[in-house]
Structure formats: C-alpha cells, structure tokens
Symmetry: D2
Subunit: 340 residues, 4 copies
C-alpha cells in the first residue's frame, strides 16, 4: 500500500450550515479524503456534527484542530473576521487549507496572508470561489483562453437571489454577492479589475431598511474591458446567474440552463420553460463537489489549486473599493499591491 | 362604393435604398395604399423607381410631390437634415406623414415640428421607429403595461451590427444606432430618459479611424430605472438585438429567436443553434410591413399612429446629450421642454 | 393608371368565423385586393359581415357571387362537402380561387377538380394550407431544397391543440388535424406519401366519446423516409406545432419559438420560459396574411400559387387511407392516380 | 475508527477502455472506495492499468479477483458473454457487483441471475445503466413520479451517435444503442414494455454493410403508452440524446442542453448555439461519477442500488424481441417471466 493511497485527514473548522455540508461532502463525495476533527465556536454544534459521522472527533478549539497531529489539511468555514488567524495557523504548520470566501475582511490582512504563504515557499491556500469549478464557467474560461472569439471587450453579468435575511444591507450586497462576480470577472478575463462604480436604480419595495435592490456595478479591467453587473438579492423567484462575454469575434453566454423543459397550463395561460433553481446550493452542487475533489487531490500532494491567496486579496480589494463607490456614488479606482 | 375604400395615394420623398423599399412595400404589402408620386434629389433615381411600378409618376422636387393634389399622404426617407422643411410642408397641407428617423437632426427643429403639428389641431406625424411594431417588442410593452411583473427597475439592451461603412464614427453610433435603444427604452418603460452616460471599453481592432467599438451607454429614467446598453457595430457576425427587462416580480427577455434550430458538424466540432440574421432588414421585415399598414390605416382616416413627433423630439434630445456625454466621458442630463 | 394597379375584386363565399376573418384580412391586410361580395348559407351572417365593411355587397347565393361580373376572384370558406361544386363554378368562369382545406372530402371529387383545372389550361386553384407560408416552415423547406443537410431520412412532428368541440371524433383528428402534417410532410420533403399507419396509445381521460387522444401516425414516403406524428387535440394547454427533420448530415427543428422569455415565481416554484399561444390563429397569424397576399398577387395576374389542386387531392388521398388505417389498426398503402 | 469509514476494496474485472476508466473513477472520484485488484483476459492490459495506480494488484484471472479475500465488491466491464459466470461468482461469495450492461446476452441467463440473486436473500447486483443517474433523466423521473403532469401517454426519444466501428450491424444498433432507450423507457415510465416494432427508413449512404441507419423503433408499454425512438449511429456530428414525455396535463423534454451559447461568424453565415458533445463520455461524465458513488455507498452497506438484475433481464428481453422485430419487420410481443 503506497503513501498516495492514504486518505487525506481533514479538520473542518466552523461547522454551521456551510461547514456541516462540507463535512458531508468530504465523507460521501470526495475520493481520498475524510474528516477526522471538527471544531466550532459553539461546542454543541461541533458535537452534533461529529455524532452524525463515525470516526469524527471534536477539537476543543479551532487552533487545536489545526495543530492536531492526525490532521493533514484544513477546511475553514468560520466567519470572515477569524480567517486571518486560522489561515495563518495552517501556514505555520505547513498544512493545505481550503478557506471559504472572503479570504479576510480587509485588504491589509489579505495581503499579509499572501506574503505569509509566499514565505513558506509553497502554495498552501485555496479560496472557496466555487464557481471556478462549475462546468459552465470552466467552459467559458476555456473559450477565452482558446482565443477562439478573440479579445474580450465587454461582459454582462446578472446575479439573482430569491431572498436575503432581514439584516442584509447594500454593503453586504457588495461584499457577499457582488464578490462572486468580481472573482468571475478576474477568472474569466484573466486580468485585474482597476475601477468600480456602484449605482442603484429605484429599489423594489418591501426590502429591509438599509437595502436598495437591485444594484448595478460597472467594473473596468486592466486591458480596458467593461463589465456591467446586475445584482438582485430579493427577486422572490429563485437563483439565477448569467454571464455573457462580448469578444472581438463573437459572444458567449452561460447560465440559461436548467432541467426539463416543461409545458403546462396555468391560470389563463400556458407556458413552456424551465424551473429556476431555488438557491445557489442546487445551482452549484456539482461545482462544490468538484472544488472539494480538486482541493483534496492537491492537498494529498501537499499543495493547493484553484483560487489563490492573491485571488482572495484582489477580490477583497475590489469589494472594499466597491463599498467606497457605493457610498460616494463615484467611480472608484482599485489599487493593488505590487505583485512581487 | 364608399370613401373609405378609396386607396390612400402616397408620395414617397427620397427613394434611395430605404425609400425604394418603402415604395415596394406600399405597392405589394400595404392594404389600402399605393404610391402615386416619387421624388428624389437625384432625378435619375426617381425615374428608375417610377419605371419599376406602373402608375407611379416622378415629381420635379420633393415639395412639389408633397403639394401634389393627387397625393393624400407622404413618406419621407431623405437625409435627416431635410426633414424639418419636408415635414413642415406636410403639416401646412394637412397631410399625414411617415418620417424616417431621426425626426430632425437637432433638438430645436424637432421641437418646432412638435409645436407646428400641435398648431394644426391634429395628429399628422408618425416617426419611423419601426421596432415598436415588431411583435416581440410589442409583446414586451404589453407585459409592462399589464403590470404582471410589477414595476420596471432595470433593463439590459444589446444591439449588434455586422459592419458599418468606413466613414462611420463613434458619434454616428450614438445618433444612428443607440437612438433605437433610446426609443425602445422610452416605449417599453413608458417614461422619459433623464440622463445618459456613454463609455468605451477597449475597441476591437480593424475599425475605421474615429470609431471605437463597442460602445456602452447607461440611461436613467424619470422613475429611476437604469438601462445599460451595449452597441456593437462591427461584429462581423450579423444583426442581433436583445432586451431584458428586470422588474419587481420577474424578468422578461426578447431577441433570442430565429429560424430553425440546426445541428450540423464542422471543422472539428458539431453545434446546434440558429442562424443570426445578416441585417436589420431580415430581422425587422415584418415590423416594417406592420408599421406601414398601421400608418396607412391611420392616414386614410386623416391622422397618424405609433411614434409621435414628441417621441422624435425626445429621442433627438437624448442622443444630443449622448454625443455630449461621449465627448466628456461624463454623465449628462437630458433636459426636455415642458410638455404643454 | 395601368391595369396592374386595379384592385382585385374578391367574392368571399362562406363568412362564418373563418370566412369573416378572411374578409377582414382582405380589407385591411392585403395589398391590391378587396372584398366586393359575400355570400353565406345563412343570409343573416352574410348581411352582418357586409354591414361591417363599406363597399361590400351580399349575393343571393354562392353561385351568384362567383358568377358576379364585378368579381375577379373567389375565396371559399364553406364546409368541405360544398367545395367541389363551388370550385368547379370558379373554374368554369376562369376565376382564380383560394379554397380552404380540404379541397374536397373524398378522393374522387378532388381528382375531378385536378382534371377540370387542367382542362382550363391554366393554374386557378390554391388550397388553403397556410403553413407553407409560415416563415419557419418556409425556412425549413428552403433548407431541404438547399441540400445543405443532405437527404431527408426521418421527420418528427408534433401537433397539439388545447381543446376540441364535444362532437370531435378520432376520424376528425385524421381529417382535420393530421391533414396539416400530411401536407407539411409533402411540402417539406417534396415527395408523395406512400403508406400510413395510425395507432392510439391509451387516451387521456375526460375526452368526448368517440375520441381517443393523443393519436400516433407513421407516414412513409416515396424515397423511403419515415415520418412519425403525434397529434394531441385536447391538451388543455395551448397550440404547439413542432417539426424536426433528420437528414444525412444534420437535423433541423422548428416550432420551439414564442414571445418573451419570462421568469416569474409561482406556487412553490419559479420558472423561466415562453407562453404557448392559445390557438392556431395566434401561431399562424402572419402565415395567413402572407398566404392571402401571395394569392392576391397571383390572382391579379390571373393565376394561382402555393398549394395546388394536386396537393389538395394528395392530402385527401392520404387522410382517406388514414381513416382506413385508423379503423384497421394496420399499415395502409396510399394509391395515387397517375400524374399525367 | 469505525467500520463504516473503511474504504470499500474493489476488484475491477475487464480493464479495457471502459474498465480502465472505471479504475480511474474509483481512485479519483469515488469517496469511500478504491480499486485493489484488476484482472483482464489480456494480462498485459491488466499490468498496465495496475502500474498506473499505486496499491493496485493484478489477479491471475477474473474469478481469482472476485474470490480474493481482500476484495469487498466487484465491477465487471468484460464482454457481455462472460457476465453470467462472473456475476454468478460474485453472488456465490455474497459480494456486491456493478455489472456493465447488458446483464447477459440472452434472456435465459439473465433470468438465471435474477433467480440466483433472489436465492441469496439480498440485493447484490447493480446493472450499469448510467443514464438513471444523469441529473436530467433523474429530474424527468421525479416529474413523472410527482404526477404533476398526469399520466404518461407517449414519449419521443432520439439517440444520435457520431460514428460506429466498421463492424457495426443493425442488430448491434438494437442490442447496444436501443437498449439504453429501452431502459430509460422502463425507468421513466415505471412499467414494462410489452411489444416492439423496428423499422428502417432509407439509410444514409456510406455506412458499413449490414448496417442501415437510422433506425426507428416503436415501444408499447403495459399501460398502453407509445414510445417512438430514433436511433442514429453514424450522424458524423456528435452525441445527442433527447426525450420528450407527453402526459395528460403537459409535456417535458430533456436533452436540449450543453455549455455556452456561442455566437460566431462562419462561411457566409453567422449562428448562435451550443456545442454538441462528441460522445457519451462527455455527455454522461457526471452520471458515471454519480453511479459509482451511489454503488460504492450501497456496497459498503453490503447491498446494491439503482438498476436491478430484473431491469437487466427485462432490457435483454426487449432487445431480444427487438432483434426478432428487426428481422421480421413485424410488431413483436415481449413476454417476460412472472415476477415472483
């Protein structure tokens, strides 16, 4: 039995709704990896998850889970403001880490992680931008890389959620929702975002105070491409994401799909069409599985793949500028550190 | 035999490519109307068109055609800088007129026509925004009017031409292409545009000097709706127009259609899809026919229907502001005259 | 004023729902033609239609309308069992006639009309298979003619109606509904049908006695192509027709289209799709207009275009065999007269 | 460490193209399972596969691999005529087995396996009809089960391959290609097939002797539903499967999908559409992964899931009748053993 066949032993730190789902994913959908330790700020939560999966222990605290000698790699699904400390602990011990987005909640700490990883001499951090593993997004990226349609000039993005919790604000739209379009833009076009403008049309009614919905953003990139983004977080409908690339020799759109095309009657009219998935979980189910498999494969080799710490830093830099743009109503430049 | 059954006798002024096609449309596709006189700045052009259709005479000049006693109504398809004089002549004689867009080339003259028509006490002017007669645009307008999807909040428009003549400039993109999206926005949303921003991403290469392509425009409306527009005039592909409405309770998209869905093989890959029509002529063939029939029906009753002189004026006001926005790179407000 | 510009003076015989709509179409949508006389088995019906349109007179009976000296051409929209007599009267007077389908209700009388027309030495009969004028069907026919996809091998057809009157029987499905797919097969493939099989799956419940719905038919053609047909006449939904050609080098499908793609919420789920038109009237509105314009253009030249008397005969021959196949449950050969 | 966490140790018997891919799938995409032994009729083939994956041994022969004490479960990907012996050996040792389709190549041996499994008192056999794990097919099955569209009445299936090897015959079309539609029909409608008719339209040219392509089949089910099937094995295009259910209260279609919708120019025309996947491997990539994960999950519990031995038997019974129908050109009844 050779070393490569040994399962990756994973600590999952933060086992709320998302983290608990990641435990399930590791145990039942990821080849060559299994959760051995879980930790959570609420011990009862950790106990409950551990009880559901034979062979999973509870660590006293997140840092103990990361330090555990029987842990080879770490998944972090705690709130963003804890990420710097936890990811740093992983780096110190040379353990590959899959950190849910955002990498951290401010530009400076993200950059510190970029530098701390570089100091280890290895790639250890993967940020949880799962869309990069979605077959449709991956196919669009391949199309751009193939240069088949020529240089990208514009991109149109729409991001629609059925609903948000009552405490959701317009800033959270930028930090939690728009951030996905920011990462997709960087991923699909393969370049940095240099400026952002955030505007609001009149809002739908019946949204929480502090929230104006939808949101319009305009992203500019290094090469001069323009990306317009619609973010709608309270449509009442379901979850839809759509991206259309406009390039020199053609266009390409993803996100029109779904399951069966059903024709049925209704109140006074008949229609033929597809169901809209209720949430990102259904839409990106396969992407999450692929993301974890790719991470586990890389972690077993002692490294990481997919979105880098720099990707996490750059996304935070753009959304930070986005919040400033939201407040000022003005085009705001994004200034990234030099990429040494 | 009653008066209503008498055919409308039409003068077509300007019989270049577009005007000649309008003559054909009147003779062969429009019930209750026929061309009796044509005029053109180039007499040989007028002679050639008249020779093709029995019963069509050539007038010595456009004003003579309009004044002709045997002419009941007028179609104007001359360059925009002649429109004020010609439309005014129609108004003076109380003759219904279908004037190709733009109504006139500047705001002041358009407003003078609005006032001159009002002074006649009748509706006589119809502006040639043919898209309003396209079944898809009409269905989207009906959907907005039904309030079925609630209040409009945003709209996404794309307008793509395969190619433009070598003398085409970025200002002409605003005046000749963007103007259609301006009118559609006003038509679909049923309100005025209050501000416009025009930006350029990096341009495709191999376009004429003075042209940057594509163009991005952002329109704001009275109610606070935001409309983003992509105009692409040299895609090398074909003609595509697409509009997606984002409203409080749903979205609606038009422009995805075409003819047969064909699957076939190709160089190394197979695909399944639809042909993109080569130009606006194929895409809006039915719309032009419907526009002319609606105009003829109204003109036989001594009046006009569809896009009004005010619609022509408002479109000119927005595109004039658009050219200013293009030059300044700044958001530019649109100031309309009071609508007395 | 030359002869060509004179409007075609039309008699419309049979002005029930369909015929009355044809009068409207002639008066308001057909260039160069106008109704001058109407006749109907119910004089009150004819009076009502005539009263709605200035300049339209009522004839004492259909034959009087056809014989009228001020009538140049005739539209027949009476029940099928009257067609032979009425079309014959048109042929005797050398008047172009647009006869609604079926040409006649039995093979022998249809063939007599084919021969009677041939004896006049002119093409005078056009049968009302309006689908041939639908832009989608026409585009599919053009594709077949272009040989771009190679030889046709199979075709899949679906024909779905929302509902039928309570007296509708399975035989009427063959005679009134399937007949359209029969004509489309002949039109699209450009060859005769040689055999027909008609089968029934279990029926939907809640249909009238004497009706089994849906119906499956299998058509075989001269060249050996196989065409399977689903006819559904009581779906409760709306009107859908779809045809997919399977050829040597590719496939082509028509009938997926509609208006705006609308996303909206609903009872527990959200969907994105298109409205299904309620009936053939909405689906083939443009086709009817194009059919009438083409007929009027030909009739003004003293002839006819589109579906011929032979097309009407061949369709009747196939549906007659179809009724036999329905009764026997067996594959039934279609035997056509020699085409002299 | 509890028992449940122990990886399932798998023998893969037959490691040609398909079996070797299954080894890769177990090693890199299936949680909780790993290949420990491979065997093949060609020892060099087995050696090559084993060399590629650390920890995989080569067994002297298939029966030795099945008997191996360190093997918990077996995947069989050898030719169909070996399946009875190999599956029987698995049953004798009480080992769960995933057997590629067909279960066996004749009705009698399939039935013997059904009975042999029953004698073990456990469910141990899963047949490799992977489509049942495809998200689209699964969604359509759920829709039928929900009764949302009412009782199924008809189904239309199309199955298109780009090409087949030169030795492919019309009988192999029935046994290797049509068998998938047979299983899908049984799966989607949840009932047995009672009769089959197989017909050929004229064939495309340039196909091997002994092959007529395409093939048309008509399946009848217990409830009286009719299923028409187009099988096209040499389209030169790519791989497409499509199924449309026609039910009492609506219709549902799967198989229209693909990746990005790309618009691009071409030789004289522009089109907008999707790529057709080159083969079943791309189309059913996710389905195979899901099939193996579901099998491994069940096998770790000592049982099986998905398509049963009876499903394998019933499919063989239908395709056996299909070959008879192909030869006779007649409707052929399918007679299944009593399901004790």
């Amino acid at each position: 039995m050779t070393e490569e066949l040994t399962d990756l032993r994973v600590a999952v730190v933060g086992v709320g709704m998302m983290g608990a789902d990641h435990v399930r994913r590791l145990q039942t959908r990821t080849a060559g990896a299994r959760t051995v330790v879980v930790a959570d700020a609420f011990p009862a939560t950790a106990e409950k998850v551990a009880a559901a999966w034979p062979g999973v222990r509870v660590a006293t605290d997140p840092l103990a889970a990361i330090a555990d000698d029987e842990v080879d790699a770490v998944v972090i699904a705690t709130p963003g403001n804890t990420h710097e400390e936890l990811v740093s602990a992983c780096l110190e011990r040379g353990k590959p880490v899959l950190c849910e987005k955002p990498l951290t909640t401010d530009v400076e700490s993200s950059l510190r992680l970029v530098e701390a990883e570089r100091a280890t001499g290895r790639r250890l951090i993967q940020v949880g931008f799962m869309r990069r593993f979605d077959p449709e997004y991956a196919a669009l990226r391949s199309l751009v890389e193939s240069d088949d349609l020529g240089r990208p000039l514009m991109m149109h993005c729409a991001h629609r959620n059925a609903s948000v919790p009552p405490y959701f604000t317009s800033e959270m739209v930028v930090l939690d929702s728009l951030v996905h379009e920011v990462d997709c833009t960087r991923f699909l076009l393969g370049e940095e975002i240099t400026a952002i403008t955030v505007l609001h049309p009149r809002s739908r009614r019946d949204v929480p105070d502090g929230l104006s919905d939808p949101t319009f953003a305009l992203l500019e990139t290094e090469s001069g491409a323009l990306v317009d983004v619609e973010v709608n977080v309270a449509t009442g409908l379901g979850y839809e994401v759509r991206t259309e690339l406009v390039a020199e020799r053609g266009t390409a759109m993803i996100g029109l799909e779904g399951g069966p095309v059903v024709a049925r009657g209704g109140a006074g009219s008949a229609s033929r069409g597809r169901s809209v998935p209720p949430s990102f979980k259904e839409r990106f189910k396969a992407a999450y599985d692929l993301e974890f498999q790719a991470w586990a494969d890389a972690a077993r080799r002692g490294t990481a793949t997919g979105p880098t710490a720099w990707d996490g830093y750059a996304a935070t830099a753009v959304t930070t500028a986005g919040v400033e743009a939201l407040r000022s109503g003005q085009r705001t430049e994004v200034r990234l550190a030099a990429r040494s």
